[in-house]
């Protein structure tokens, strides 16, 4: 045998590391500080580095009506100084200490994070804890930062036809639900935001009992516990109520056709509202398996049918986003090889039905194996696992779900997936969007 020698070498090595042979189990621990702050600790001792993240369970969905962009503008202003750490000192200190420091805002959450040498962790924790309560922004800085986020919106959305298209689809699907509003806010909303709008949002939502701290890297649980208490333990919690989310009308279905001059590639997109992990975890796992079955790689049935066999499409994609505080969303997209007309929509319909009909016990097993084989990589980069875990915790998904991911995926049955497929395609609130190339094409 050609590989006998190598195989022996590997076998010897495997037995040495037998102790950690259970590769799919994540070593994630959590606890709560007395002030209500959730702390998640992930050990990874490959290098003396750590990812330090603070997630606030507050995002664009928590903005008052007409104040679109407040959560995002606040995220920017968090880098503009506190009573102790003036002006742009935060950025300067982090840079001088070698940190990759940044932040992001989504519909559901806002997160601040630094990836840095472990020797600088306490410094980062001090600074992050400080700006949880002591933000102090000048009027001039407020106005400049508002200009910057306006430019950001222009760069992200106006220069990107795809982004414009999705914004219209989301608006249509979500209606009165806050997921309808773009995270950046609309042009006029941004221009009219005041410092008071931002400060009110900050005072209401930025507090330890509404936050999740993630420490992922070269740290032990005991070290993490001690430091979390030292830097975040004394911050006082806030009292506030989180608004309930709007319900969506049942049987909602819309279709939108848009022509844009700058578009060169016509595409079909379907966006559906489906259950998220916090709403119904069994359905969420079934959706997770469904989407992987449909589009995991080029062997997946949608690609094989639409692109390879029938040669009707150049590409096809599907995506399930189930980690959210309210509904999850399912999106489907296809790029036609020829025209985007009713005939093409029919091909898409047929491909979907073909794929679902073909789904059986053996397809389920194969899909599961492919999903689980990648899990070991999650343990590699401390930054990646920190992000996933923080996102889950801050949207209300229990950390256990990640620990038990393998078990939960294994429990999904053929009928669970078929039921969700039927729901996604035929029953879920849905918008179909058709983006067409403009006149000059």
């Amino acid at each position: 045998m050609r590989f006998k020698k190598l195989f022996l070498l590997l076998l010897i090595n495997l037995s040495v590391f037998d102790v950690k042979a259970n590769t799919n189990q994540f070593d994630i621990k959590e606890f709560y500080l007395k002030n209500g702050m959730q702390v998640v600790v992930i050990e990874n001792h490959k290098a003396p580095i750590i990812k330090h993240m603070v997630f606030y369970k507050a995002g664009a969905v928590d903005e008052p009506r007409g104040k679109g962009g407040v959560a995002h503008l606040l995220e920017h202003l968090m880098f503009r100084g506190t009573k102790k750490v003036k002006g742009q000192e935060f950025n300067r200190i982090m840079e001088q200490n070698g940190a990759e420091s940044n932040a992001f805002t989504s519909q559901d959450v806002t997160a601040y994070h630094q990836f840095l040498d472990i020797s600088r962790l306490e410094l980062a924790m001090f600074l992050e804890a400080d700006r949880m309560k002591n933000l102090n922004i000048s009027d001039k800085d407020f106005e400049t930062e508002r200009d910057i986020v306006f430019q950001e919106r222009k760069q992200r959305v106006d220069s990107n036809p795809s982004a414009k298209f999705y914004e219209i689809l989301r608006k249509t699907l979500w209606g009165n639900h806050p997921y309808a509003n773009p995270v950046t806010g609309l042009d006029d909303e941004i221009k009219n935001l005041t410092k008071k709008d931002v400060v009110d949002f900050y005072n209401k939502y930025y507090s330890p009992n509404n936050a999740v701290l993630v420490l992922s890297g070269d740290i032990t649980f005991d070290e993490a516990k001690k430091l979390a208490e030292k830097y975040y333990g004394k911050i006082k919690p806030n009292k506030f109520e989180v608004n309930a989310f709007e319900k969506l009308p049942e049987n909602f279905e819309a279709k939108i056709k848009i022509k844009m001059d700058e578009v060169k590639l016509p595409r079909l997109v379907k966006l559906m509202s489906v259950p998220s992990f916090v709403q119904d975890k069994n359905k969420a796992y079934a959706l997770d398996v469904l989407v992987k079955y449909l589009i995991q790689d080029e062997n997946s049935p949608l690609y094989q049918k639409l692109v390879i066999q029938d040669k009707k499409a150049l590409n096809v994609g599907a995506y399930y986003d189930g980690i959210s505080r309210s509904f999850g969303s399912f999106s489907f997209s296809a790029v036609p090889r020829g025209k985007l007309d009713e005939q093409f929509e029919k091909y898409v319909e047929d491909a979907w039905n073909y794929a679902i009909k073909k789904f059986n016990e053996s397809e389920l097993e194969k899909t599961k194996k492919k999903m689980l084989s990648d899990l070991v990589y999650m343990k590699d980069n401390p930054s990646v696992l920190a992000q996933t875990t923080g996102w889950m915790a801050s949207t209300g998904v229990k950390i256990d779900e990640l620990q038990k991911y393998e078990e939960n995926i294994k429990n999904v049955k053929v009928n669970d997936v078929k039921n969700m497929a039927d729901f996604v395609w035929n029953k879920a609130p849905k918008v179909t969007g058709i983006l067409l190339a403009g006149e000059d094409k």
Binding site: R2, F3, L6, F7, L9, L10, L14, F17, A21, T23, H45, K46, A47, P48, F79, K84, V85, Q88, N91, R92, E95, Q96, N97, G98, E100, L116, D117, S119, R120, L121, E122, L123, F126, T144, E145, I148, Q151, E152, K154, S159, N160, P161, D218, E223, E262, K264, L265, D297, E298, N299, V307, L314, K366, K369, K370, V376, D380, N381, P382, S383
Partner: protein
């Protein structure tokens, strides 16, 4: 009753006052410290003084004599192998076969003479093996990442892909259709449209000016036989660089080198290309577009990775536009004026050209002001240089961020292969922080004078009426 007379009468009053002053001083110092001391937060941290222990070694295949850089890392049971074939990227595409390097990279995993493309995808998917290829102007690179338990299968598969690829017809046909469509739609994105035009402006008649995807006619003409011949003639032992990292021993790694690469041709065939000669005697290139922001790109001559000026210019670039929000450029046009979402400069190091570029976008009303502020800053620092404080600050960052490069096994393997390809030496990681430390403010300011010149190419897209 007033206490004042008592104090006044007390012989020890000066002593008391001293104590009070001392207490006051202690309070002030304590208060200040409590308020904030960066130094003490770092130096007094229990987590201080930890070192990355990974070691780079050079190893050699016992039979093939192919050399690789290697680092053992047992934290997670996975292995990553990165490799680069030099001088075979899109700039080397032959006449009539433009786009072949890029097409090779996107279709080389579509079947071998032993296994169908479908079987390969199922096998890699089920075992968690990832095999990917990509092409640049200079080279074709690839990477294999596998769980340790499936390494044996992964190596066999990659060996067959490199030496016995099939380029299955049905997948090749769709890949070509996708490339041809991409050529049509690239201009949908203004940043992409600008970047393609900018390549033409910068590189002129040089091969670097070509679109890496090729052109429609050539792509249509590329056959299975062309691709197989391309692989046989270009992916060879003498233009191969390899980095291996992860949970395996040195002996495992040596064995892998032989297994994986022994079957390659000894010598690469194909043409050579010249160094780029920049022509600065060209007007500003303007592309009209009615939607979106205005975007601009500036280009000057840079320096090579192993040139004397590399570290001084590296530090200078970091301070000027490489540092994110703290850079001089972002401080001026973003943080103080709010004219753009971000402005960045970067060093482009390719085999045949070394460039320094600056780019940003902004709405039409801000555009002229942003451009003129950039030019002012550029000129100002070329003439006056940076302060010692600026330089020390940048050096602190570059040294303190050093360990972040070891975050992932695949990242380490990529770093090793570049270390080998660029000839940085086995001890590079040990010396790198000293290279940075040794950069003087004078050297940085000389680099500014030399490279921040008016010899600058400018390309922009947007609405300029």
């Amino acid at each position: 009753m007033s206490r004042r007379p008592i104090y006044m009468k007390n012989k020890n009053s000066s002593y008391l006052i001293m104590i009070m002053l001392l207490l006051g001083l202690i309070f002030v110092i304590y208060g200040y410290n409590k308020n904030f001391s960066i130094q003490s937060l770092v130096e007094n941290s229990e987590l201080n003084n930890r070192k990355f222990t990974g070691k780079v070694e050079e190893i050699e295949g016992l039979k093939s004599k192919i050399k690789a850089y290697f680092m053992q890392q047992n934290e997670v049971p996975i292995v990553a192998i990165s490799f680069v074939f030099a001088d075979v990227g899109s700039a080397y595409d032959d006449e009539g076969k433009k786009g072949i390097a890029s097409l090779t990279a996107s279709t080389i995993t579509d079947g071998t003479i032993f296994k169908s493309a479908d079987a390969i995808r199922d096998e890699t998917g089920i075992r968690g093996i990832s095999i990917s290829f990509e092409s640049s102007k200079d080279s074709i690179g690839g990477s294999l990442v596998a769980p340790k338990e499936h390494l044996e299968d992964a190596i066999a598969l990659l060996r067959d892909i490199l030496t016995k690829p099939k380029f299955e017809r049905k997948y090749l046909e769709i890949a070509k259709a996708q490339v041809i469509k991409s050529l049509e739609v690239e201009k949908e994105n203004p940043a992409k449209e600008l970047s393609l035009a900018n390549d033409k402006l910068i590189f002129g008649t040089h091969e670097y000016a070509q679109n890496p995807l090729g052109n429609k006619q050539d792509v249509l003409n590329i056959s299975q036989a062309d691709l197989k011949k391309f692989v046989r003639e270009n992916l060879a032992k003498d233009n191969l660089y390899v980095g291996i990292a992860g949970d395996l021993t040195k002996d495992d790694a040596k064995y892998i080198i032989d297994e994986m690469f022994s079957g390659l041709s000894d010598k690469k065939q194909g043409k050579k290309i010249d160094n780029v000669v920049l022509n600065f005697d060209q007007p500003v290139m303007k592309i009209d577009r009615k939607d979106g922001q205005n975007i601009v790109s500036f280009t000057v001559e840079g320096t090579c990775r192993k040139c004397e000026d590399f570290y001084p210019l590296y530090v200078a670039n970091h301070i000027f536009g490489g540092a994110g929000l703290n850079s001089k450029l972002n401080q001026k046009i973003r943080e103080k004026e709010g004219l753009t979402y971000g402005a960045y400069s970067s060093m482009i190091l390719t085999d045949k050209a070394n460039l320094l570029t600056v780019g940003f976008s902004s709405t039409k009303d801000n555009f002229e002001k942003a451009v003129s502020m950039f030019k002012e800053e550029w000129k100002n620092y070329a003439q006056n240089g940076f302060s010692k404080e600026d330089v020390d600050f940048a050096k602190d960052y570059l040294i303190a961020s050093y360990n972040l490069r070891f975050a992932s096994i695949a990242g380490i393997a990529d770093m090793l292969v570049m270390q080998q390809k660029m000839g940085l030496g086995l001890d590079f990681l040990n010396k790198r922080n000293d290279y940075v430390k040794n950069v003087s403010v004078e050297a940085v300011n000389q680099a500014l004078k030399k490279y921040f010149t008016d010899n600058m190419l400018q390309a922009q897209i947007g609405n300029f009426n």
